[in-house]
């Protein structure tokens, strides 16, 4: 079912996530098996309640699976204690959320370097220059989030995710709150990160247009994988969604 083109950056093996019990039992993830290849931009799609966000959260170490295993590289997350899990997030993963992405008391540059400085590290300055240039904020690096537009804020969030050179970046509806112009700015930036820097990105979205920026689309329904699509376009994604009845 899964296509593995390169080495896997993250994978879930027989992973289940069950909420409640008895009649109220909800299987958010139902023995799912999926791998995400390095250097690839993957979009996860599916209707509400399909488990796409849950999948992202367990892969990112923000939530735990009820059974099965989740790996980041070779590290199995379900056995880790909170502290080690936190360090995995800090040193190996990057995050972009739909909103509340930035700390309001820190300026754009401080927000970008936050995971690094939490680890007491500094960004490689050449790399930082490159990311800062790519994020296209120019002289607004010293501004606080409330002085930036929504698109700018999300680009800062992406830059933060990239700056620590993580093994994988997870993005949860990163353009969900943006207008179409800002959305394409953010998505292009993410696309460029994959193309130019070989970054691995896994993005949850419900927007076919956003999914079209990815290399591969995984469709979820009822906690398991329904279908997938390589080199998608908006049209092929919409087409497949129709087929799946979403």
């Amino acid at each position: 079912m899964n296509t593995v083109t390169k080495t896997s950056a993250a994978r879930a093996v027989d992973a289940s996530k069950i909420y409640g019990s008895g009649d109220a039992e909800v299987r958010a993830l139902d023995s799912i098996n999926v791998e995400f290849a390095s250097g690839m931009f993957t979009a996860i799609m599916g209707p509400s309640g399909s488990g796409k966000s849950t999948l992202l959260h367990v892969l990112a170490g923000l939530d735990t699976v009820t059974s099965g295993e989740v790996f980041i590289g070779d590290i199995e997350l379900s056995t880790l204690k909170d502290k080690d899990l936190t360090l995995v997030r800090r040193d190996r993963l990057g995050f972009v959320f739909q909103s509340f992405n930035l700390i309001p008391t820190l300026n754009a540059l401080e927000n970008m370097t936050l995971p690094l400085s939490l680890g007491g590290r500094k960004a490689d300055s050449a790399w930082q220059d490159e990311v800062v240039k790519a994020v296209g904020l120019g002289d607004r690096l010293g501004h606080r989030p409330n002085e930036l537009s929504g698109g700018q804020q999300q680009r800062v969030a992406v830059a933060r995710a990239l700056l620590s050179k993580p093994e994988i970046v997870f993005a949860d509806e990163p353009t969900g709150n943006l207008d179409s112009r800002s959305s394409s700015e953010v998505l292009s930036f993410m696309r460029a990160a994959v193309d130019n820097f070989g970054q691995t990105i896994v993005m949850v979205t419900h927007d076919a247009g956003a999914a079209a920026y990815a290399d591969r689309v995984v469709f979820l329904a009822d906690g398991s994988i329904e279908a997938e699509l390589m080199n998608p376009t908006s049209a092929t994604v919409l087409d497949r969604m129709k087929q799946l009845g979403g």
């Binding site: 936190t86 360090l87 997030r89 040193d91 509340f100 992405n101 930035l102 008391t105 820190l106 939490l118």
Partner: protein
């Protein structure tokens, strides 16, 4: 609307428990004070009433001096007794004497912790109705050398009938045989005092009152009223210096005297309770402000669906009233328990308060509930007005108001209020007003409010300054702590203001005490030329104790003592003004104290002479050789100013010196407070000291001190009071800490999303806790910094105002103030424990996705 209020309360139980706690503690303190003092009052009133139970009339001298040392009255001649007994209707009349008599046990220890605990008295044993004591063993004293003691003293000293004891009084120490043991009603002793009873002759001899009594107690036959008795005796006596009062009047007078002393104590405690409540009001204000801000959407929605402004105001105030009433009620209950506990504690310290029902007067209940509720409601008025200004439109917008608006106006208002406060304070201190305490107290209060109003303006720059080293020290955690501390300057400032008050008072009292200690040291260094001083152990109570002049005589006879003198402190009226007088031996005084004689001859001080400081001479416009009127316990007289000296009250001494012979002539009791000695040039001070110590074996209440030790014991006494005040202020500081914890807790709720994000991108729990801890420390240090600035100002103002009353100058004890800063920082750490733990436990995913 009421349902919404109630639901709001129930929905945030912890928050309201913390807010309530701020009120509760202050109210408990207040209730405890009132209940305790009322209870002691009733117990003591009963005690006095039962002492005077059989007394229908009392004859005494009308010559009296009322000074800082209490009321001192002349004695009456024993010749009056037969005259009184001859009056028709007198069933019994007996002479009374009350004097210093300290029982010493077989081991040579003074019984009953003199210098700390209850006093030790000697009395005449009177038979029949005029005796308040009940024999439980042995017999009444019937001969010279016999004493009857109270059962408390007997138990403490392990004494029984037939035991030999030594008794210290104003005559030389003497051996007595315990003839009997008494109780005071059911109690072992009256309020823990040590009592010894003697025959009339022995009592007169021991108190230097041969042929005299303090007064005569009269018991009337049945059918003769107290008033009738007084009238008959009054008619029978012709001495114009004698007055007759009823037993009821005597009881009332004694009770009133005690009430006055007790009210000083209760007023002081109530002041500290009010300080705690004042600090608590900041916490309440802060909590309600934050809650209103957090509920902006909810309130906006209520406005949108038709709630009026006044309904919003009422709902917030109703919430406050409910919290206030509940907290005050619980505080009242705790206060009552606290009073019982304090009574037990006092008993443990040897202050034996006889059994008596705990007094919870209606006044206590009304005052505690009223003040607690009022403070809570008053503190919520501003937040409620703010709530009412929320527009329905704000229901739609997200929270987060602009905290910097109106700061310009605020700084003007703050500066004006602070200036008014400073003005009132300085006016009270330097303005020669009738009621300085009022102006100073209100001034201090207004300064606090003014600085609190200025707080939001100062908070940001000062916090940034205080937190400047943090980013270097703690990296990103430090940056976050600093930014969080300054992100809402209003909130930070009002949280810090609560601690500011406590720190200001602690710092002020520390500075004041250091200045006093410095003055003592300066005075001792400059005026103390003796080598040794014999003083009461532990300082000693101010009146009705001391040493027999026999001690000074014996020290004088020690080989190698060059000069010595007993020293007595007394109150007198000079030219109609109550003053503090020192009596010493004029022949040796100038060798023992460097009083810096200026004119006249100190050595020539006779019975009716006085030496006056040059400061006082200038102030009063007196000249050497002038005669001034004086009033002493033994009557009025005229004193001649025979000498003028330089080191008066300013140097910690007195503006007036009289001779010991003068004291003998003008005062009834003859006890030395201290004895000074200077070693002769050719003698070895160590040998002399050793010889004096040998004499002191007979005087277990005395200790020998050299200059340095004397300084140290005096400083020790100041430290004792200082520690007591620290303990009383501790509550205000604890309440301020609850405030910091409360604010942090509420802030964390507001920042849930942010905390989730931080945790998601890799902040460890430990780092998160650390950031909150440092934020708390910054707030605490902000309060401390502001508090210390105020403390230095208050301290400087008071010390300067008291300069002519013996304070040498302003001293800021840097080491102690540094300790305050460190402790405040630690307090910040403690206040952060719970909020930090709560924040660290947040589920990352829930936190991020929280709306």
């Amino acid at each position: 609307m009421w349902r919404v209020t109630l639901k709001g309360l129930l929905g945030h139980k912890l928050r309201f428990m913390l807010t309530g706690l701020a009120v509760l503690l202050g109210v408990a303190f207040m209730a405890g004070t009132l209940v305790l003092t009322d209870t002691i009052q009733v117990i003591f009133d009963d005690l006095v009433a039962s002492v005077n139970d059989g007394t229908d009339a009392f004859v005494r001298s009308n010559e009296v001096v009322d000074s800082a040392f209490g009321e001192e009255r002349n004695r009456v001649s024993a010749d009056l007794l037969p005259q009184v007994r001859a009056v028709q209707g007198v069933a019994q009349a007996e002479g009374d004497l009350q004097f210093y008599a300290q029982v010493v046990d077989a081991k040579g220890e003074a019984i009953g912790n003199p210098g700390r605990g209850a006093p030790s008295f000697g009395f005449i044993w009177n038979p029949g109705r005029l005796n308040a004591y009940r024999l439980v063993a042995g017999n009444s004293p019937s001969a010279a050398g016999e004493v009857v003691i109270d059962r408390g003293t007997a138990k403490k000293g392990n004494l029984r009938v037939g035991s030999r004891v030594k008794v210290l009084s104003q005559s030389a120490p003497e051996d007595f045989k315990v003839a009997g043991i008494v109780t005071f009603g059911e109690a072992d002793s009256p309020a823990g005092a040590s009592v010894s009873l003697f025959t009339s002759e022995e009592a007169q001899r021991l108190s230097g009152a041969v042929g005299q009594y303090d007064g005569i107690s009269i018991s009337a036959v049945d059918g003769v009223s107290q008033e009738q008795m007084v009238r008959r005796i009054d008619a029978a006596l012709s001495d114009p210096k004698v007055e007759v009062i009823t037993g009821a009047t005597l009881t009332k007078e004694n009770q009133d005297q005690f009430t006055q002393q007790l009210s000083f104590f209760s007023t002081a405690l109530l002041a500290f309770a009010l300080i705690s409540l004042f600090v608590g009001s900041f916490i309440i204000f802060n909590t309600f402000s934050i809650i209103v801000a957090q509920r902006t959407r909810e309130i906006g929605l209520m406005r949108a669906i038709g709630a009026s402004r006044s309904q919003i105001v009422k709902s917030v105030i109703a919430e406050a009233a409910l919290v206030g009433i509940l907290a005050s009620a619980v505080g009242l209950g705790i206060g009552i328990l606290l009073a019982a506990g304090l009574k037990a504690l006092l008993a443990g310290l040897g202050i034996d308060i006889p059994a008596g029902a705990t007094q919870v007067l209606p006044r206590t209940i009304i005052l505690c509930l009223g003040v607690g509720t009022f403070v809570t409601i008053a503190a919520s008025v501003l937040p409620s007005r703010k709530a009412s200004r929320i527009s329905p439109m704000q229901a739609l917008r997200s929270t987060g108001s602009d905290p910097m608006k109106q700061l310009g106006r605020r700084s003007t208002i703050g500066v004006v209020i602070t200036a008014v406060g400073i003005g009132s304070l300085l006016y009270g201190l330097f303005g020669n007003v009738g009621n300085p305490t009022l102006f100073v107290g209100i001034g201090a209060l207004v300064v606090f409010l003014g600085v609190a109003a200025l707080g939001p303006v100062i908070a940001r720059p000062v916090s940034r300054l205080l937190a400047a080293p943090l980013p270097k020290l703690k990296g990103m955690v430090g940056v976050l702590a600093r930014e969080n501390a300054v992100r809402n300057p209003r909130r930070t400032a009002s949280t810090a203001a609560a601690l500011m008050i406590g720190v200001a008072l602690v710092g002020f009292i520390t500075i004041f005490a250091a200045s006093i200690k410095n003055s003592i040291a300066t005075a001792v260094d400059s005026a103390f030329t003796a080598d040794f001083v014999v003083a009461a152990k532990g300082g000693g109570p101010p009146s009705l104790s001391g040493f027999s002049p026999d001690l000074a005589q014996k020290i004088k006879e020690v080989p190698g003592v060059g000069a010595s003198s007993g020293l007595r402190f007394a109150g007198a009226e000079l030219q109609g003004k109550g003053v503090f007088v020192i009596a010493s031996d004029p022949a040796t005084s100038t060798q023992l104290f460097d009083v810096k004689p200026e004119s006249g001859d100190f050595k020539q001080l006779g019975i009716n002479d006085v030496a006056v400081s040059s400061d006082r001479m200038k102030k009063e416009g007196w000249v050497l050789g002038q005669r001034i009127s004086a009033k002493f316990p033994k009557g009025a007289s005229t004193l001649k100013i025979t000498a003028v000296f330089g080191m008066g009250q300013q140097a910690g001494l007195s503006d007036y010196f009289i001779s010991l012979a003068g004291y003998d002539a003008h005062y009834t009791q003859q006890l030395d407070s201290q004895v000074y000695a200077k070693v002769a040039d050719d003698a070895n001070p160590r040998v002399v000291g050793r010889d004096i110590k040998k004499i002191l074996k007979e005087y277990p209440t005395a200790e020998l001190l050299d200059q340095e030790q004397f300084k140290a014991t005096r400083s020790g006494q100041v430290d004792q009071i200082l520690n007591l005040i620290y303990a009383l202020l501790a509550l205000a500081v604890v309440i301020a800490l609850i405030g910091i914890a409360n604010t942090l807790g509420l802030s964390i709720v507001e920042r849930t999303n942010e905390l989730g994000l931080l945790r998601a991108v890799g902040m460890t729990r430990r780092q998160l806790r650390s950031a909150i801890r440092w934020e708390s420390v910054i707030i605490a240090l902000l309060g401390t910094a502001l508090g210390l600035v105020i403390a230095v100002f208050f301290g400087w103002a008071l010390v300067t105002a008291l300069r002519d009353q013996g304070l040498a100058g302003f001293v800021a004890p840097v080491d102690r103030l540094a300790v305050i800063v460190v402790l405040a920082g630690l307090a910040g750490v403690i206040a952060a424990i719970l909020p930090a733990r709560r924040a660290a436990r947040l589920n990352v995913l829930d936190a991020i996705s929280q709306e």
